[in-house]
């Protein structure tokens, strides 16, 4: 497995300002010491609840927000202070699709121009860029003759998201980050766009980072899954293993909270009580301990590290670390 993207110790804390002199009063530890790799041709799913840092992770990868600490390497080249790969080059290789299909398109540009915009900025001649836009419209299942000159408000949500996918592909990137890209769509349209993403991945040799709160969708599209909770990775591994045999108590609860889809086997009891805590001043030690039924003193004292087992699975839980001091370890 060759890593297309490797991320090491990614950290982003947002200061919360306020008061008389607008000084930083607290920090939101949005992403805290997150490390992972994405192999060439795979789809890495990132799941978690609101505030877990999945979207901030995506924005950090794209360098849409500056990172506090950590390194991101794309295809072996680091992106950072003395860069091997400039941000401009990075954006050629890595593109992103956002949740809100309307807000991410320029309302004053016909969609073909939106798609061609990136290549034009990167020095492709206009006729070539527009020709490529036409091909991409075709590739995402929209007839170029009908759609090229339309404006975003003339399209449905599903069609707009297809345009966003086409635009992301315009620079021939190798990695596409899909941040809740199908979450705002109706189920029947979501299925169409998921099918499209699978076809495009094959056709354009893409690698995906797929971020979603929808556990069914992540299971369907991902090869590996990373589960986040309050800015930390709690579990990471192959999709089958995670869904069949989750190890971390949070992953278990998350999967157990999914509606059963079967009226004969309804969920009797919610696996967790309460809401996720505020990412401002998260709990000490293991951040999940306040909602974890197995929490002990060690969980409050020491943050668990993400430990990898033989099968490519990593879990951050004291119960699974021999000698951690937890009674169940």
């Amino acid at each position: 497995m060759t890593a297309l993207l490797s991320v090491e110790g990614l950290t982003k804390h947002f200061p919360v300002r306020g008061g008389l002199l607008n000084r930083a009063k607290a920090v939101v530890q949005a992403v805290d010491d997150v490390s992972f790799e994405v192999a060439v041709g795979e789809t890495l799913g990132i799941v978690g609840e609101s505030g877990c840092g999945k979207s901030t992770t995506a924005r950090l990868l794209m360098h849409l927000v500056p990172l506090d600490r950590g390194t991101i390497a794309f295809d072996g080249k680091s992106i950072g202070a003395r860069e091997d790969l400039s941000h401009r080059d990075l954006h050629r290789q890595m593109q992103m699709v956002f949740q809100d299909s309307y807000a991410s398109l320029n309302p004053r540009l016909p969609v073909s121009m939106s798609i061609a915009f990136g290549p034009l900025v990167h020095g492709v001649a206009k006729p070539a860029a527009l020709a490529r836009a036409m091909d991409l419209l075709q590739a995402v299942g929209l007839d170029p003759l009908l759609f090229a000159n339309r404006y975003p408000h003339e399209l449905s949500g599903g069609q707009r998201q297809r345009i966003n996918v086409a635009r992301a592909l315009a620079l021939e990137p190798r990695l596409v980050i899909l941040d809740e890209a199908v979450s705002a769509l109706d189920k029947s349209i979501e299925a169409q766009v998921l099918n499209l993403l699978i076809d495009l991945k094959e056709g354009f040799d893409l690698t995906y980072v797929f971020i979603s709160h929808d556990l069914n969708v992540v299971r369907f599209i991902s090869d590996r899954v990373m589960v986040m909770y309050l800015g930390k990775v709690v579990e990471l591994g192959p999709v089958g293993q995670i869904y069949r045999d989750p190890k971390h108590p949070y992953t278990k609860a998350l999967l157990g909270a999914m509606p059963s889809m079967d009226p004969r086997r309804r969920t009797k009891e919610a696996p967790l009580s309460g809401d996720p805590p505020n990412p401002i001043n998260p709990p000490s030690g293991c951040r999940f301990r306040t909602r974890c039924q197995f929490a002990e003193a060690v969980c409050a004292a020491v943050p668990p590290t993400l430990a990898t087992d033989g099968d490519g699975r990593a879990v951050a839980c004291h119960m699974l670390m021999p000698g951690s001091g937890h009674s169940l370890a």
Binding site: E49, L215, M261
Partner: protein
């Protein structure tokens, strides 16, 4: 048992100078006390409009409502705004998707609940406040006494949703309308609210009409499911029947699209096309343009409601004629 909600041929049109939107096009159903009806549909299918019609919330000048709606013996369509105010809260209450916009931001939770109780039951403020405290305990809000004095913005999303449920239940309605109350919540919080609603519904013996786009949520809460498409019920039946053995091609397509048990990385059996334009509905079956079983006659006349079993209704000419059977979905609860 006599139904507590009875809807007969409900039609709702919205008129603007440019166009007329046919949001609901002939919906009929009866709901018995203590039962939960789940209305399942995608955006624009008319499910929320149906719900708003039941409680008389549609703007009178811009909407045109036809048909009969009877809730707990009251003819909703014939009532004045003043009469409706008496019925809302005491007989029929509603909870919404976004508690932040449904609750008043400038009053505390306790004040909002107590005000409702005083208004409807004429009890003293102190008594109402005590009831409000009880209600917060019923919806399992921790440290309820302190939470009564919270403003909505001081609470988390799940907590606000519980507070809104407490408000809706404050005058013991016999019918609760729920408009996607769990959609905006995280999955671990969503299941808590579902379990709570189910428990309260059973304890209080309320009838509930629960609108959702999520098959999983409908399967968790509903006794009966009505699948809505383009302002009509295309299939109704017991939840178990509709989910395990769907009859209508749209129901089957919707179930297949929810990526249930679909082999990882393989193409889904998606429904092609997009929902119809509600200003310009086709004369026949509204789903025909997207249906892979459609024939010429499907686009000519509206398919009537056909009973496959006494409690299982479908609107499809070809299913009625026994010409097609749609595939049942694979049900796989994730191993936990």
């Amino acid at each position: 048992m006599a139904p507590v909600v009875s809807v007969e041929n409900l039609r709702v049109r919205f008129t603007t100078p440019d166009a007329t939107v046919n949001a609901v096009n002939g919906v009929s159903f009866d709901l018995e006390p203590g039962r939960v009806l789940g209305i399942l549909g995608e955006s624009g299918s008319g499910k929320s409009v149906t719900l708003r019609a039941l409680i008389g919330l549609l703007p009178p000048r811009r909407s045109h409502v036809e048909g009969r709606i009877t809730v707990a013996g009251h003819d909703i369509t014939a009532m004045s705004e003043a009469q409706l105010r008496e019925v809302r809260g005491t007989k029929i209450a509603m909870i919404f998707q976004e508690p932040m916009t449904a609750l008043d931001p400038v009053f505390t939770i306790g004040e909002q609940i107590a005000e409702t109780i005083v208004r409807h039951e004429g009890v003293s403020h102190a008594d109402a406040w005590r009831r409000a405290l009880e209600l917060l305990e019923i919806v399992q809000i921790p440290s309820a006494a302190r939470r009564l004095k919270n403003y909505p913005h001081e609470m988390s999303g799940g907590m606000r949703q519980r507070a809104m449920i407490a408000l809706a239940l404050s005058c013991r309605p016999s019918v609760l309308l729920a408009d996607e109350p769990t959609t905006a919540l995280d999955v671990t919080v969503q299941i808590q609210i579902i379990v709570l609603l189910r428990q309260l519904q059973q304890e209080l013996g309320m009838a509930v009409v629960f609108v959702t786009h999520d098959v999983g949520v409908a399967a968790e809460v509903a006794d009966g499911i009505a699948v809505m498409y383009a302002g009509r019920f295309v299939e109704t039946g017991p939840a178990d029947t509709v989910i395990r053995t769907p009859a209508h091609p749209y129901t089957a397509g919707l179930l297949a699209s929810t990526v249930l048990g679909a082999a990882q990385g393989q193409r889904l059996e998606a429904i092609p096309g997009a929902p119809p334009d509600m200003t310009l509905l086709p004369p026949g079956c509204s789903f025909a343009p997207r249906c892979r079983f459609a024939e010429a006659r499907c686009s000519l006349d509206l398919p009537p409601e056909i009973a496959l079993a006494p409690d299982h209704m479908v609107r499809c000419l070809r299913v009625a004629a026994g010409e097609i059977t749609v595939a049942a979905p694979t049900l796989a609860k994730q191993a936990v």
